[in-house]
């Protein structure tokens, strides 16, 4: 049996990391949303487009490498 309790008490440290020449990586305890709605509640990690060229915004799809 896994110890869920101690897991829950530990607050995940949220890290927002700007990857040079690449996307924005966010890990931790987040709510991702836009003006209208929640997009994703507590995703394990997200990579957000920073170049403006992704075909899958707000996520990165590696278009920045083109």
């Amino acid at each position: 049996m896994t110890n869920m309790e101690s897991n829950e008490n530990k607050k995940p440290l949220t890290i927002v990391e700007v990857i040079d020449g690449g996307p924005l990586k966010i890990t931790g305890n987040i709510i991702l949303k836009d003006l209208k709605k929640d997009i994703s509640d507590n995703p394990p990690e997200v990579y957000l487009c920073r170049c403006g060229y992704s075909g899958n915004k707000p996520y990165c799809d590696n278009s920045h490498k083109c």
Partner: protein, 172 residues
């Protein structure tokens, strides 16, 4: 008209109608863009002066000013007697008045998830407690807010500087 007072205050400009005065502190603005996305009739960055208090009813202006995630936009009643009630309001406003970030009376501010908000055709606005890493820098942000460029054209990368509007950046 009586309202021809000074239009500046220390740190910014102010704009009045008959009922309220809106205060704008440009240094505090992170270009989250709630104001003009919600109410371009009043808040139009392409116009001078950029705030037109005749563009909407007072209630609506208050509503949108309260959406500002920083203290760049605040407001007061012109009738100072009425301001007692909003002083708390304004304090909350500065400390993330946005309802989704208000802690639910529990002392568990640490537990609040970090809000990552995609502004349509604009930046990503990140609020809360988090570690921010960029170009070898590492900062611990406490109850803070940052607005990061998503269009790639900011002159102040990785931060948003409002350029997305000039280049017509679109999410679609």
């Amino acid at each position: 008209m009586m309202e021809r007072e000074k239009t500046t205050f220390s740190g910014g400009r102010k704009y009045s109608n008959d009922e309220i005065t809106v205060y704008w502190k440009p240094d505090a603005c992170v270009h989250a863009s709630y104001c003009y996305r919600e109410l371009i009739e009043v808040f139009d960055p392409g116009r001078r002066p950029w705030v037109d208090m005749k563009g909407a009813e007072t209630d609506r202006i208050i509503e949108v000013v309260n959406m500002c995630p920083t203290e760049a936009l605040t407001w007061k009643w012109n009738d100072d007697k009425k301001n007692k009630d909003i002083s708390i309001d304004q304090t909350n406003h500065i400390k993330f008045r946005r309802p989704e970030l208000m802690s639910t009376d529990e002392q568990e501010i640490q537990e609040n998830p970090v809000s990552v908000k995609i502004m349509i055709d604009g930046p990503v606005v990140i609020k809360g407690d988090f570690t921010f890493q960029y170009s070898g820098n590492k900062k611990e942000i406490k109850e803070g807010i940052i607005s990061l460029c998503r269009c790639g054209a900011s002159y102040h990368l990785p931060f948003c500087d409002g350029t997305h509007r000039k280049i017509g950046f679109e999410d679609k």
